[in-house]
Symmetry: C2
Amino acid sequence: MLLSPKRINIKTGNKYIAVLSENTALKLDLRAGDRIKVTNDCGEKKEITCILDVSERHFSDKTIGLFWETYEKISCEKNKKVYIEIAQKPLSTAYIRKKLDGARLSDQEIDEIIKDVVEDDFSDVEMTYFVAGCYTQGLNDRETTALTRAIVKHGSKLVFKNKIVIDKHCIGGVPGNRTTMIAVPILTALGLTMPKTSSRAITSPAGTADTMEVFCNVTNDAERLKEIVKKANGFISWGGGVDLAAADDYMIRVRHPISLDPEGMLLASIMAKKHSVSANHVLIDIPLGYDTKIQTQKEAEHLKKRFLNIGKMLGMKMKIILTDGNQPIGNGIGPLLEALDVLKVLKNKPDAPKDLKEKGILMAGILLELTGKSKKGQGSILARETLESGKAWKQMQKIIELQGAKRMPKPAHFSVPIPAKKSGTVKKIDNKIISRIARLAGAPKANQAGLYLYKKVGDHVKKGEWLMKLYAVRPERLKYAIQFALNNPAYEI
Amino acid sequence: MLLSPKRINIKTGNKYIAVLSENTALKLDLRAGDRIKVTNDCGEKKEITCILDVSERHFSDKTIGLFWETYEKISCEKNKKVYIEIAQKPLSTAYIRKKLDGARLSDQEIDEIIKDVVEDDFSDVEMTYFVAGCYTQGLNDRETTALTRAIVKHGSKLVFKNKIVIDKHCIGGVPGNRTTMIAVPILTALGLTMPKTSSRAITSPAGTADTMEVFCNVTNDAERLKEIVKKANGFISWGGGVDLAAADDYMIRVRHPISLDPEGMLLASIMAKKHSVSANHVLIDIPLGYDTKIQTQKEAEHLKKRFLNIGKMLGMKMKIILTDGNQPIGNGIGPLLEALDVLKVLKNKPDAPKDLKEKGILMAGILLELTGKSKKGQGSILARETLESGKAWKQMQKIIELQGAKRMPKPAHFSVPIPAKKSGTVKKIDNKIISRIARLAGAPKANQAGLYLYKKVGDHVKKGEWLMKLYAVRPERLKYAIQFALNNPAYEI
């Protein structure tokens, strides 16, 4: 069938979508969500497979509406008709169906699905069925490994020839937990390769990428990152800037509406990020607390077992540690305030937060032992020495320079302290409330905003002493944050 | 936030969709699939909740794109800004999540979900999760009954005061199976109320609605249908014309892309159609054959048990029969050719297809006994008498007149017989191949197209004798159909 193309001036983000009138769709026995092949014979023949949308009115029966990308891709001309025919569904829709039916998928089937995800061959409805299938029927370790491999295969990869490439990951939920920024300079100062891609905050007041961004640029392409590794053995850069696990981002789009985290996808997503930077020695930190992502020892042990199994299949040496997640790490919460904590630790200031320093040393030490750089039981000693001698700080300055140093902002102009209402010992600090206050104050978008904790669990506090101080760049933001903080006490004394 | 509305000239079919630029979405911490409330204060305040789409470029940061329905609904004016705020997700998304987690949903939760489906409060992604949840975790009889009630509640209903209202349904897969058109005139001639809504063909060469449409109009609104029932006790009309189980149509849209039929939804869909016309005496026909929808005795018995349970909860007297589905019923396949078979049966012509006649009598007889109109064992006798006396034909003419009689078309101009390649006894006729040939010939869209079967299972055939004859309105269609028929023998001799 020949139809006149009509450009719809909306960018859909790579997805190719065409719109037909109800009549034309009926004539071709097509429904919304079906696929059509659109061909434009303009000297050289250009073809594209689109997902069909059906419009109730507006389009004439002789017209096909093409969204921006589609129109551009086949170089339509206004007065030249395009040819339409029915296209087959990708084979992989059958595999999605199979997963919903509870079957195990083969490595090839999973690879095919991820290829189609990345090439945008699925409609959102089809992709949703895949996520729902993985959620309700589960992915076993073999399938999760296949999913990890497929995500890495159909995305960019950073290849390093070094025998040892290290990485770490933390299963979030604990504010201020910036150990990466302590461990990376220690380990790279000792000659180990650690190409660390980090994420930005989604629901927290700061991600490692947001905090590193206070010091320097964190959006670097693969080529630049490889150069930095050559010169400094590592970096701390934003993962989203390198397109390392693209398939993941596609799937997150349909996971977001009902916040669905299929365990197998979560594991594959973490492992793919490590695998895509060629990491073969990986430390996973699972903070355990009453309001962290993982809340019970049992869940943590289950994940640990899965990580080790999948790591083995991928040829990774892994160590999984369970850490205390019952209160924030460090004192600052929010990009700048967390960055200041990191600086204090690296510069060996007397007021450096002890918990952040010790956790950073612990993590670095474990990785030193895992890679054989230190003997068993000696890792922490070498890590501490590297930090306290100033080598780590020198190394961090080198990395910051290479990534493109920035002038650090000043602390936020508006601040207000929250004093204790009674005397006693701090029993508990609620991670979720702390995160919420910092976000209400403007973090992470306003990178100077957030809060500073003066007291941690176990500290004695007198009535009227400051528990924390809130920072915001705009007074109304400060008002929101104070209001919430007063109605929702983060401290239990 | 105040933004300038920009109309996008596409009708989305009731779904309210708004588009923001990536920057604006980021500023509001929103992602595609989130909900926003758009308010237009134009004298009277108009509000609407939209699903958000995010466009990569094209939209300025101060603009909001509104699809046709959205723009119209809140009566935007070109130069007047609209107010945007973040809206909450419907509560029922939590119930969808619950179903995916394997929980049983309460009647109230199911009702809430269906209300949101009908009010278009879900995005396609959310609705897909609901279907996937029902498919993988199942709906038990209580949930299926609740789903049936909710579909009926949130749609139109035909209420009849009669104590007895009858209906029937066939779980498809057998071409030519037009028993409804024999049973309705018999039963309504005997004074029983039978408001029969039927479907059009989706993957078959003809549905009952398509076949009835050869005789008369089948798109009637509720008021007209009630009038017809007053005058003739029943009708045979297209269900889609009355909007009886609207929620069903919404859900079918997301079931279509991977052809997912969650059993509970299938049952609820059938039962809702019966319940919405006030039917309380219902016969379900499950044809069993090697290529019918239901293929094993076990599956059929399982469905039978579920139908009876759900029927009981809905206060329906039900009878479920398993019939032979190993070959087509009647001789004609395609709307006109099937209609001609029905005519022959109603007019008691000597060449009327015996199987169609007998199955029609059987069905009518069972319903006569189920309603108590006939004593046990006497139903078929009364049904046969009503048919053979010509009363049913007279009644059918009355119904056709009331629905709006049409001039019947002539048989299709182009036809070609398919002769037997060898002599023997017909062992099997493949339903799927027969359907495919008739559809390739143009059925159901070309209502004169299709095929006529000269031989049925058990018949003796000599080499060269006609097995069937293909009919098409366009010669190229006939060519397609012949080609397929020659490559895929429908008859096993």
